[in-house]
Amino acid sequence: MMQRTMFIDPGRCIGCQACVAACRECDSHRGRSMIHLDYIDGPLTVASMPTVCMHCEDPVAPCAEVCPADAILVTADGVVQEASKERCIGCANCVHACPFGVPKIDYEEKLQYKCNLCYDRTSVGLAPMCASVCPTGSIFYGTLEELLLARPGAAATDIVVFGEQEVRTGVAIVTPVDAHLRSVPGGMA
């Protein structure tokens, strides 16, 4: 199940966008943030949450499955890479296939871009930039054991339910401690 990965905890997010600023510092896409930081409850609260690529495992990366140019590589360690610049045709199939709304198209460059789990860092043992700086642990990088050591009593899931469809992801979501949920609902009821 969960390996060393990112754990997303929307309940801890303070909306500061340190992750967005840090994402721009990643050497694989300097100057452009791949993080989606949304203020989700507009007129009601200041609630916010970060969205990174969830690196879907089962079914394996819908974005890669629908790519007509075979541009999206899934590496052996389960990281769904950004579309290869040499192959991407900017068709946006991946945008429509992604259940989490992660990939975006730069229509000037006609290229897809998305979070690749800071592959230049994680592949050499460094934490992704966003998780390194996140001042709240809303984005945590490590193993489940390390997460539980830092937060006694926390729980996490790597299954998101969209109606009938379950998606098992490489990135996990921290769930409320007392919810005893195995999965979190992702789609409309």
Binding site: A22, H36, Y39, P43, S48
Partner: protein, 712 residues
């Protein structure tokens, strides 16, 4: 954090550092702070103005410094030494803060020096000294992990000190209950166990109410109060009138929340209280802090892991910058400038006659008002931007306009520097080394990563050079920050803020030392008061009775709403450093006014906020996360959208802090929002086009923290 430096010595990026305080965590401003270093707006040569109406033009260091020195001489010879003032800041390294205090007293021999902490932490400092006899947070932040109740008052931690959030969440992970007292439902208030959304300007009533219930319920720590404190009887009498019902009425909250918070705090074995500007920026700021401290003392919550108290700093060196003598009433080591023993000791360190050290001067805002009255004719400013950050901005501008001479040291051309007669280009944090003291009282060090650009020179060199040209060179013969620090160690020795056992090397080895550190073998003092003794001669902690009163400007029929001002996470202080950085401008390009839906406006409506000082039209951010009788405007931007066009310059009679957090206003639908002016740039530099486009956007952000990334 670490900086990434290329082969040519140029800083090009940042890498998080696992330091014991921040544990790699950064806020968005910290992540992009390195972009200041090679920013095209940097001041890279001295600028002078020929006559008041002429433009700033480049000049040599020699010409600029000679102009400064001749004007200092002329003004002091004509009007007396006190006619030239120094206004400094707490974002300076402590070496520079110390140097500015010495420069004013020894080179200028003026009593008029004060610093921008006067707009920031002085209420906390004054109250701490009154109650504890010392001005420092009582506990290291790691103590939060062991507390059962964490009370945070008037502090939007998620936006104003994001890296502290990990300690707050860490406390909750280990079972602590979180209580947040704030008129707005901030990011930490949103999920708190209890959020008390009181009216701005009613804090003392609330804390008196807590103590009322605690006393009524027999939850006072009688042994601690009897053996370790003085003044309880007066406080007990004072809080008797603050029944939960009366407090609920004053504060506009539910009486049950007074009971709930009081019982939670009163029954806890270990509880900690933290506060920031929200309760301090008031004419009753010092008393508000004392009302929190009364609660801490009455329940004996001091000197133990998980039991304690702290004030949250507003600048990187908010603590260190107020300890070593750039404050109007202070000499190094937190010494009182009117204390004969302190004067004699410091006179010895400086090699001057005790009688030649000036006595206590006036506070920052008072100094500007004295400028308007012609009592101060010349000013050296460094590390501040009062045309944005001081209250009732037009009155501040009138003070500066009345000056005969004004020199400002900065690394960007702030709104205040842009009106100076001489502007001297200084360094950013990465171009020099020096120490800072954090919110815990821990002394840490910045190392130098790169050389300053062009002809910019480090601030301490500039100050020493002016002193030398004034004929005081022998007292300012410093060749490095280390040499200044070595003198500071001696000057602080025996004072409360005793740094004498701290060396640069020891800081590197330890991730920082908590003062007092009275000798080089001393391990530092992470937690104060473990012996349950205060710093007063009798060792007792002092209660101070507090009676709540209305703010300086109560609401009335004409101005029925309360205006409160504060920060947003993408910007820092007067915005001089952050309104130029693309990522931060994109996140939050402009200010807004936060209003409750019941006031009848739509998101983005141009809403004019009017006070007795002026009116500004902002886009409305309509949210239920604010009280319906209160509106909020962030303060980081300059005129014509400055929140400080609206604020009142009423001062706390003890701390002299302005009442930024509450004044009376009314709002109405305006015609169109007032547009943001781009920050000034030096002659020849071009404003950044992308930033210009962003600030021309009249929309409000999607949330107080800025725009969401999908909203362009």
């Amino acid at each position: 954090m670490y900086l990434r430096v290329d082969g040519a010595g140029k800083v090009f990026g940042v890498e998080p550092r696992n330091h014991d305080i921040n544990k790699m965590k950064l806020c968005p401003k910290g992540v992009v702070a390195y972009q200041q270093i090679n920013h095209p707006d940097r001041l890279v040569e001295p600028l002078v103005r020929d006559g008041r109406d002429g433009p700033l033009r480049p000049a040599s260091w020699d010409e600029a410094l000679e102009r400064v020195v001749s004007e200092i001489r002329r003004i002091q010879d004509t009007y007396g030494r006190d006619a030239f003032g120094v206004y400094s800041g707490s974002s300076l390294f402590t070496e520079k803060a110390y140097l500015l205090g010495k420069f004013a007293r020894v080179a200028l021999r003026t009593k008029h020096i004060d610093y921008n902490g006067r707009l920031c932490m002085v209420s906390a400092a004054a109250a701490n000294k009154k109650a504890f006899g010392v001005d420092r947070a009582a506990n290291p932040w790691s103590d939060m992990y062991e507390t059962q109740v964490l009370l945070i008052a008037g502090a939007n931690v998620g936006e104003c000190f994001p890296v502290m959030t990990q300690y707050v969440w860490g406390a909750r992970d280990r079972g602590a209950k979180l209580v947040v007292v704030d008129p707005r439902e901030t990011a930490i208030a949103r999920t708190a166990d209890i959020h008390v959304p009181l009216r701005p300007g009613t804090d003392a009533a609330f804390f008196n109410g807590l103590l009322h219930v605690i006393e009524r319920e027999g939850l006072v720590d009688d042994a601690f109060v009897a053996e370790r404190t003085t003044g309880w009887d007066d406080v007990r009498t004072a809080v008797r009138g603050y029944t939960p019902e009366r407090v609920a009425d004053i504060c506009g909250i539910d009486a049950r929340s007074v009971e709930q918070v009081a019982l939670l705090w009163g029954r806890a074995e270990r509880a900690m209280a933290f506060h920031a500007r929200g309760i301090e920026h008031h004419v009753q700021g010092t008393e508000n802090v004392l009302s929190v401290i009364n609660l801490v003392l009455a329940t004996g919550q001091l000197g133990r892991a998980g039991a304690g108290y702290g004030t949250i700093t507003g600048q990187g060196n908010g603590q260190g910058g107020r300890e070593h003598g750039q404050k109007s009433d202070q000499l190094p080591g937190q010494r009182d400038i009117d204390d004969p023993q302190a004067r004699a000791y410091i006179a010895g360190v400086w090699g001057v006659d005790e009688a030649d050290i000036p006595h206590k001067g006036t506070s920052a805002v008072e100094m500007v008002h004295q400028m308007a009255r012609g009592e101060i004719k010349g000013l050296l400013g460094i590390c501040n931007n009062p045309l944005v950050s001081m209250p009732d901005r037009d009155r501040i501008e009138a003070g500066y306009e009345a000056l005969e001479f004004h020199v400002q040291i900065d690394f960007f051309l702030s709104e205040t520097a842009a009106r100076a007669d001489v502007v001297l280009p200084g360094t950013v944090w990465a171009e020099d080394e020096g120490v800072q003291t954090n919110a815990e009282g821990r002394v840490v060090k910045h190392n130098k990563a790169t050389e300053p650009p062009g002809e910019a020179r480090t601030d301490w060199w500039i100050v020493c050079e002016i002193a030398r040209r004034l004929g005081a060179g022998d007292k300012f013969a410093f060749g490095s920050p280390r040499e200044i620090f070595e003198e500071l160690r001696v000057a602080s020795k025996g004072g409360h803020a005793d740094y004498s056992g701290i060396t640069y090397e020891r800081i590197e080895e330890t991730d920082g030392l908590f003062w007092p550190v009275p000798n080089e073998g001393h391990p530092g003092t992470p937690r104060l008061f473990e012996d349950l003794r205060s710093y007063w001669p009798d060792g007792r902690f002092r209660f101070h009775p507090v009676e709540w009163h209305e703010p300086a400007e109560p609401v009335d029929e004409e101005y029925p709403l309360r205006l409160t001002s504060g920060r947003t996470v993408a910007h820092y202080l007067s915005g001089n450093q952050t309104r130029r950085i693309g990522a931060l401008v994109e996140q939050t390009p402009r200010p807004w006014v936060e209003v409750h839906p019941s006031l009848g406006f739509e998101d983005g409506d141009p809403v004019r906020v009017i006070t007795r000082r002026g009116g500004v039209t902002y886009p409305a951010l309509v949210t239920e996360a604010i009280r319906s009788d209160t509106v909020f405007v962030p303060y980081h931007w300059a005129s014509p959208v400055a929140a400080n066009l609206l604020t009142i310059d009423a001062l706390d009679p003890i701390s002299k802090i302005p009442e930024f957090k509450v004044c009376a206003c009314r709002i109405e639908l305006g015609e169109s929002v007032d547009l943001v002016a781009p920050p000034p740039v030096p002659p020849g530099a071009e404003p950044e086009l992308a930033n210009e486009r962003e600030i021309a956007d009249p929309r409000s952000p999607t949330a107080p923290q800025g725009r969401g990334t999908s909203e362009g």
